[in-house]
């Protein structure tokens, strides 16, 4: 994937829902985890991350609280709301369905041979 390519806002939301369904995370943790899990193939700029987080918070999918561990800087920690947890389940199912359909179409020749 090219340096400037990312993924659409819908994809970003699915990724965030998935990561936050594990535990509450701050922005740096989210970006680091995306880099690690995608083996740095998904560039995730904070300029993309923050609008998605704000939109999800506005839609009631996530909530945030300020955290400041002793001797460290303040940061906002995001966690899923009940609505967000339901949306995470729905997004996971939708994604699995989509991936399964696409896989059966795109890889049909590979599977046949």
């Amino acid at each position: 994937m090219g340096k400037d390519e990312g993924f659409g806002l819908g994809g970003a939301q699915t990724v965030l829902l998935s990561l936050l369904s594990e535990r509450a995370r701050h922005a740096y943790d989210i970006a680091k985890e995306v880099k690690r899990l995608s083996e740095e193939r998904l560039p995730f700029h904070y300029g993309t991350l923050y609008p998605t987080l704000y939109r999800m918070e506005r839609d009631g999918l996530i909530q945030s609280e300020i955290e400041q561990p002793s001797g460290e800087r303040k940061r906002r920690v995001y966690s899923l709301t009940e609505k967000g947890k339901a949306e995470a389940d729905r997004a996971r199912e939708a994604w699995n369905e989509y991936a399964s359909v696409m896989n059966s179409i795109v890889n049909r020749n590979t599977q046949a041979s």
Binding site: H26, R55, E57
Partner: protein
């Protein structure tokens, strides 16, 4: 370049923030001034410092030089103005007051409301002009002969009624005024809000214009909106928005000069 740096994240040691990161967060701080509350601004700057310092610490652990780690951390965090815009837009769009505003977005709703009302007002004016029975024309304090002495034929001068001037002047002035207001009121992507809102409005104007046929003023107005209101509204919003940003940055610089900076 000798950059004093410590991986200690203790806020008390802010003098040790690398120069490039200090400049970045100061620019971020200035870009947020006047758009988000001071407490939120402080938190956003703190969080940017946390992310950048953590990225640099991680980069150096992976074997990068401090300079490389700083450069990569800043690149990964993104262009400072884009990050500032993301924050400002996030706060501006927060807490929508109605489901419609939530659906459209606050910026789009404001631009749509202003330009939509202006369009509606013009159509009312047009209806009055076309359909109101007027026995005696309302004349301006100039006779046609006096006007013709200044603007001789063949310059068009169909009549001297106030409604004619209103119909002619209103569509000329409105995009400048509303573009300016939108640029002032919407902190981020104001021109885009003008563009997005004017699409459906122009479409409605074409429909309204079609209903007014055989009078062609409505259709002419719709065409005028596409060729004049959209570009002029867009460009005026660009200018207004740019000047508003410059003013906020100057105000912030003035404030910073009289008070000790948070990052110093």
């Amino acid at each position: 370049m000798d950059i004093p740096f410590s991986f200690d994240l203790n806020p008390a040691r802010e003098a040790e923030i690398p120069v490039a990161i200090r400049q970045y967060v100061e620019t971020l701080d200035r870009s947020l001034a006047g758009e988000v509350s001071n407490a939120e601004r402080e938190l956003l700057v703190e969080e940017a410092l946390f992310v950048l310092e953590s990225s640099v610490a991680e980069g150096t652990l992976l074997g990068k030089t401090v300079e490389e780690a700083i450069r990569d951390a800043l690149q990964e965090y993104g262009p400072v103005l884009a990050v500032a815009d993301a924050h400002v837009e996030g706060f501006y769009e927060a807490d929508p007051r109605s489901p419609i505003i939530q659906l459209l977005g606050r910026a789009n709703a404001l631009a749509f409301g202003l330009f939509g009302c202006a369009t509606l007002a013009y159509y009312i004016l047009l209806q009055v002009r076309i359909y109101l029975p007027v026995g005696v024309p309302i004349n301006l304090p100039f006779s046609p002969a006096e006007v013709r002495s200044v603007f001789p034929e063949p310059l068009p001068y169909p009549d001297l009624t106030p409604s004619f001037f209103a119909l002619l002047g209103y569509p000329l002035i409105v995009p400048f005024v509303l573009g300016w207001v939108v640029g002032r009121r919407i902190p981020v992507h104001a021109p885009a809000a003008v563009f997005r809102s004017m699409g459906p409005i122009a479409l409605c104007s074409f429909l309204m214009g079609s209903l007014l046929l055989p009078n062609t003023e409505g259709l002419l107005f719709a065409i005028w909106q596409v060729i004049f209101w959209i570009p002029v509204g867009y460009l005026t919003a660009c200018l207004s928005s740019y000047l508003a940003r410059q003013r906020r940055a100057k105000t912030q610089k003035g404030t910073a000069a009289t008070a000790p900076s948070r990052t110093q």
